[in-house]
């Protein structure tokens, strides 16, 4: 049941939502002192909120129906929740269209492609777009960028940040007549400040970092996207025991999914490609094997089609298979400049 329907004061409600508690089930199992600490209110107030919450829960017979399984959420509640969080735009309209608006929070999206297709570019673009303020249709959040290959270049992030601010000012100028009200106070340095950059040099460090991310994010609740670039690198180098690798990878995937769900953030994993012998010929496929391909919620493959870069939705529970062109410019990821821009449905 959503927090929005609780009979509590508006300030208490906004505190709950700001702290990340959007449904009853998310805080009903906590102790009042824990809730009080998170919301920065007194213990008594927190106890009062929880009492009201459990009372409404009992009253709301229809939601309580099938002897509510503790911790479960109804599909209806989930639908409302999804609408509360806007998607993270990729700055390319065609790409956003096939993604249903952009990268979704609470889901793990895997993006893979050949070297040089623009995976790191997309990663940096997303780390910057998550910071677009709520007034401009964004999430106003921070980003965590986990770099396993050393391909993150600060100068490039600065370039893309400057272009993003330019676009926002143009947009703001068009939409609002009163330019004073929407003074865009963002400076590229502010954007860089909101990207938490981690560099890991081995698979053990990678796993350790992901294990500790939940502590980090509970201290920094406004992180709304975690980007791992790339999740493959350390697992391809010198693994003797393939079974161990599969175990480690699935453990890591589960942790990332839990992270996405618990903190309502988007997780984007960038993957590499490998060749596989299927049906008598070699084909390109994303790395890390078949068991890994089940781990992500959504899968996007970036590829070359003639002279253009395309993205293809390979796997998604809610999006249909489609491909769309995009281009990498000095301003970041943008719409492709070709004349016949068509989204091809498969």
């Amino acid at each position: 049941m959503e927090v929005g329907r609780l009979p509590i004061s508006a300030s208490q409600r906004s505190k709950l939502i700001a702290a990340g508690y959007t449904t009853l089930s998310s805080f009903s199992s906590l102790s009042p002192s824990h809730l009080a600490r998170d919301l920065k209110i007194s213990d008594n107030e927190a106890a009062e909120i929880m009492r009201v919450a459990s009372h409404s829960h009992r009253l709301d017979g229809s939601a309580g129906g099938c002897g509510t399984v503790n911790g479960a959420q109804t599909a209806w509640d989930m639908l409302h929740e999804e609408e509360m969080f806007p998607r993270i735009t990729t700055s390319c309209e065609d790409l956003d269209n096939i993604l249903g608006g952009g990268i979704n929070c609470k889901e793990v999206t895997e993006i893979g492609g050949v070297p040089g297709i623009g995976k790191t570019q997309l990663g940096i673009q997303l780390a910057i777009n998550v910071q677009i303020p709520v007034d401009y249709g964004g999430l106003g959040g921070k980003a965590i960028y986990i770099d396993t290959e050393g391909s993150f270049m600060v100068e490039r992030a600065l370039q893309i940040a400057e272009a993003c601010i330019e676009d926002m000012s143009e947009c703001g100028g068009l939409l609002r007549k009163d330019s004073q009200a929407c003074q865009l106070k963002m400076h590229p340095n502010n954007i860089l400040e909101n990207i938490f950059y981690f560099r890991v040099c081995s698979y053990t460090e990678q796993i350790a970092l992901i294990n500790y991310l939940d502590k980090f994010i509970s201290e920094h609740k406004d992180v709304k996207i975690v980007i791992v670039d790339s999740v493959t690198f350390h697992f391809r180098q010198d693994f003797d025991d393939m079974a161990l690798r599969t175990r480690l990878l699935s453990g890591m995937a589960l942790k990332l999914m839990k992270l996405a769900k618990d903190f309502s953030l988007a997780v984007v994993l960038l993957n590499q490609v490998t060749t596989k012998y299927i049906d008598g010929s070699f084909q390109l496929t994303l790395a890390l094997g078949d068991s890994w391909s089940h781990s992500c919620t959504n899968r996007v493959i970036l590829y070359w089609n003639g002279n253009e870069r395309y993205a293809y939705i390979d796997k998604s529970p809610s999006l249909r298979s489609a491909s769309a062109p995009y281009s990498v410019t000095s301003k970041g990821i943008r719409n492709s400049a070709s004349n016949c821009k068509r989204i091809k449905m498969m």
Binding site: I195, T232, N307, M346
Partner: protein
Amino acid sequence: MANKQISQMGLPKSIANVFAARNVFTAKALSLMELRVQNEHLAGHLPTHMKGLDEALCGGIPFGVLTELVGPAGIGKTQFCLKLSLLASLPANYGGLDGHVIYIDVESKFSSRRLIEIGVKSFPEIFHRKEMAQEMAGRIHVLRPASLSEFTESLQQIKVSLLQNQVKLLVIDSMAALVTGEFEHGAPRQKTLGWHVSFIKSLAEFSRIPVVVTNQVRSQSRDETCHYFFQVQSWNETIEDRTRHDSHLVAALGINWAHAVTIRLVLEAKSGQRFIKVAKSPIAPPLAFPFNITSSGILLLSDDGIELTGPDINTIHCQGHNDIINFGGESLQ
């Protein structure tokens, strides 16, 4: 160094200690900017003195990452490496790094005579004095490993000299020759290559020096495709591809290696003219610059590169190459 960054982040003590213990390097992107771009020597890049290329790469060969030079035989990869070694050993006021260079010469291509020639022609004011020439040349250490295991051993030694902060550039010419000779194509080779790649990358990052590696080319076999399962290929296309494959060159060492390098510079010859292309880079657009090899190294014929769209930037041509070697004699085509 990890401790310094973590303390700047304002993390609670418990987490900071854990991260420090695990040696996880963390920082905010802004402090990265301050650390690297604003404070590092030459903003973290080694200028190549080829204006167009330096502009495209935002200053030159970047520190801390792997840059790959790939191209057919005789195109100029070793010349490029010689020029870079010279540039790294020059004093700071001439645009150099004022440091030592480790040159790993696998195929015995290093020519000290050619190095001095490049030096004399490009920086006459330094090299005309014999002691200066001796000092510059004395900063370049050439290693000639005879096998992969010797190379691995010397890597460990290199790590020590890097810690002492004297070495400012590492050149490996060529990586392909080291690995190809030792193993059969397949799993053992990939594993060893993988280990070396990781080690060299961590060396580069840890000591923040540029690392340049050369790679060879091989012809693309008929079995190879570069398509995904969802890309439908028409029958006509496959016939066309087959005739192309015979003269089609690709970089050696496989796709895993292609992912691991951060910057890939492709040198090729097309219709008798040599080009240097920025095929993979996090910051540069796909540009191709025509160049010639002169007595002072590599000279770009035009500083405005030709922008190539599409996957063509990755293809390696070897057309008209023989014409160049024939010193402009009658064209055979």
